[in-house]
Every structure is written in structure tokens, then in C-alpha cells.
């Protein structure tokens, strides 16, 4: 007869699997109240220019900024939300007006904006995103690219009413 061994490793594996399942959204209905709002990141608001126009594309494109916008609590996708995006790219530094643009989320709360390639600036290849439309509390994000050669970057918002 074999005894099933519960080692520390299997426990960790189970816990990891459970955490991954929870975070993947499969258990969202069961944890309806548990979707916490996204806090602003340190340095997220740096070189922010209020009122960046909604554009089809920033500059010549070639790089994709993607993400989702959901409501805190029930995690429902938020459509038509304006997300402002800027970064140091091959076409301008963070402060330059042409480095800024905005886009709207679709019915599933997803946004995608093409922009020039982000390049390392101030020591890290990173982008900036802002939700600042007033209906929900303002959030500034500053995601960092895993590699400077990446051609996309993702950032997800969970907003709470203002």
C-alpha cells in the first residue's frame, strides 16, 4: 500500500494553483465582492499632461499598450472609459506633447492603443497610464517592461467610484 505524501512542495503547488485559479477570473462570481481597486503607482503621474486627445494611434505606432478597466467590488468591465497614455519613445521624450494620447475602452472594458516603441528612460523601459475622468477615483500607473525589446506592455485598472 502506498501512503500519499503531503510534502511542503505539494502544498505549495496546491496553494499556487488555487491562487492562480482565483486570479485568472474563473472564481470571480464566487468572489464578487473581492475585486480590490488598483492603487496608483509611485512616479505614475510624472510628466502627466492633462487632457491628452483621444487618438487612433500615437505617432507612427509599432508598439502596443494594452489593458482592461473594471469596477472595484464586482469586477464588471467598464466600457467607454478614457485612458491616457505616455512614455519616452523613439519619437519623443515623456514631456513632449506628441508622446501623449488617449483611448477608450470597448464593451468588454478592454483598451489597445498603438504607439511608437518605448525605450529605456531614467533607467527603465516603462510606460505611464492615467485614468482621470472624474467618475471614478484617479489612478496613475507606471508599468515596467520585462525587456527593452518588448513590443507591447499591459496595465489593468480596477476603479472605485469617486
Amino acid at each position: 500500500m502506498t501512503t500519499p505524501l503531503t510534502t511542503r512542495r505539494t502544498l505549495l503547488r496546491l496553494a499556487g494553483a488555487a491562487a492562480a485559479t482565483g486570479m485568472s477570473g474563473l472564481l470571480v462570481p464566487a468572489h464578487a465582492q473581492g475585486v480590490a481597486p488598483t492603487p496608483s503607482m509611485r512616479g505614475g503621474a510624472n510628466n502627466y499632461r492633462p487632457g491628452a486627445p483621444v487618438v487612433a494611434r500615437i505617432g507612427g505606432g509599432g508598439f502596443w499598450m494594452t489593458g482592461t478597466v473594471r469596477r472595484a467590488g464586482d469586477g464588471a468591465p467598464l466600457a467607454g472609459q478614457r485612458i491616457q497614455i505616455w512614455a519616452h519613445t523613439t519619437e519623443g521624450q515623456e514631456r513632449d506633447p506628441q508622446s501623449h494620447g488617449a483611448t477608450l475602452t470597448d464593451a468588454e472594458g478592454v483598451f489597445r492603443l498603438e504607439m511608437p516603441q518605448i525605450i529605456p528612460a531614467f533607467g527603465q523601459a516603462h510606460g505611464h497610464l492615467a485614468y482621470d475622468s472624474g467618475e471614478f477615483q484617479t489612478v496613475f500607473l507606471r508599468p515596467v517592461m520585462a525587456r527593452a525589446s518588448d513590443t507591447s506592455l499591459n496595465a489593468d485598472f480596477v476603479l472605485q467610484p469617486a
Binding site: R42, G43, N46, T89, I119, P120, F122, G123, Q124
Partner: protein
């Protein structure tokens, strides 16, 4: 005499090695592809930082009188001048970064930056200023030479540690291999002089 020939050859090798160790990283940074997407002020900021790091290799060698063919007195005089140059490089580095992106530099100076290398850089900056101030007011302070030296050496260690971590964690214009090698040389030279302390402690004239 063969012994002087050997000594001369050795001196030549040391100086050639030092020049290569200083010049290659600077040239590599000056050839960085990132420069194409930076304006002149930002380029100046980066190069001032690279030059500052390079000067950190010369400083311990001069302080310890380890460069062949240079008397200890002349070595110490050069150490003072290059220390002044290091302060200038730090000031240019920070000021030009401030012009490039004020909020990022303010965050760094207030220790609330999202990047850890900023913290190390700012610590090293204050240590550079403190070490220079200590050197400039050496006579007025009337510290015992051994006390003064211990304080200056401790600040030098903070400068080197902070700067090396700052440089290694940054994804910037420096080429990776030459950056790591230069940092290793800076740490080795500093450790040798700090640990060795073989040179005589001299009172200021």
C-alpha cells in the same frame, strides 16, 4: 639595467591598462543606440554620470599612491583636483536630469522614486558632497589625521558602493560588459586601498 627596464615596462602596462579601463566604457556609452532618442541635455546627463564612475577608479589609486612614476605628494594633489571634478560631474548629472524630467529627479531626491537605483544614486551623491566638504575644511576641522582619514575613507566606501549599485541596476547608455568590468575595477581598487592603508598618514601642510 634589466630591473629598471622591467619596472618601466610594468609602469607602462599599468598606465595603458588604466587608460583602456577608463576610455572604453566612456566610448561605448557614447556609441549607445539610446542616444538617438535623447536630446542633448539628457545625453550630457548620462555622460556626466559615466565620467563620474570612471573617476572613481582613479581616486583610490591616487589616494593610495599606487600609480607608478607619480610621487605621493603629486598623487594626493591630483586626488584633490579630481575630487573637485567628481563633484562637478555629479552636479552636472543631477542638474541635467532635472532639466530632462523634473518630477523624476524630485522623486529621487526625496527618496520616493519607484526605482531602487535612484536611492543608491542619491546616497552616493550626498556622500560625494560630504567627502568633498570634509576635504575642503580639513585644516579648519583640526581633526586628528587618523580620524579625518577614517571619516573620508568611510564616505569613499559609501560613494563607491552607492555608485556601483546605481550603475549596475540602471538600464542606460552604458554597454553592459564594459560597465560591469569598470564597476569591478572600481570596487577592487577601493577595497585594496581601504583594506591596505599602507600609505603614511600625512598632516596637511
Amino acid at each position: 639595467m634589466p630591473s629598471t627596464k622591467v619596472a618601466r615596462a610594468r609602469a607602462g602596462l599599468v598606465w595603458a591598462g588604466l587608460l583602456v579601463a577608463l576610455i572604453v566604457p566612456v566610448l561605448a556609452a557614447a556609441a549607445s543606440p539610446l542616444l538617438a532618442w535623447r536630446d542633448p541635455v539628457y545625453i550630457l546627463a548620462g555622460l556626466a554620470g559615466v565620467l563620474g564612475l570612471a573617476l572613481l577608479l582613479v581616486q583610490p589609486l591616487l589616494a593610495g599612491g599606487m600609480l607608478p612614476g607619480v610621487s605621493l605628494a603629486r598623487s594626493r594633489r591630483a586626488h584633490r583636483w579630481i575630487g573637485g571634478g567628481l563633484v562637478a560631474a555629479v552636479v552636472i548629472h543631477v542638474a541635467a536630469l532635472w532639466i530632462t524630467s523634473p518630477p523624476d529627479v524630485v522623486d529621487a531626491l526625496l527618496f520616493r522614486s519607484p526605482t531602487s537605483f535612484s536611492v543608491w544614486g542619491v546616497i552616493a551623491m550626498w556622500a560625494v558632497f560630504a567627502a568633498a566638504l570634509l576635504a575642503a575644511s580639513r585644516r579648519r576641522l583640526r581633526l586628528r589625521p587618523s580620524t579625518w582619514r577614517r571619516a573620508h575613507t568611510a564616505l569613499a566606501a559609501v560613494i563607491v558602493l552607492g555608485t556601483v549599485l546605481h550603475a549596475l541596476l540602471i538600464q542606460g547608455t552604458m554597454e553592459t560588459v564594459s560597465k560591469i568590468l569598470l564597476c569591478a575595477l572600481v570596487v577592487a581598487a577601493t577595497a585594496r586601498v581601504v583594506a591596505g592603508r599602507r600609505t603614511p598618514t600625512r598632516r596637511p601642510r
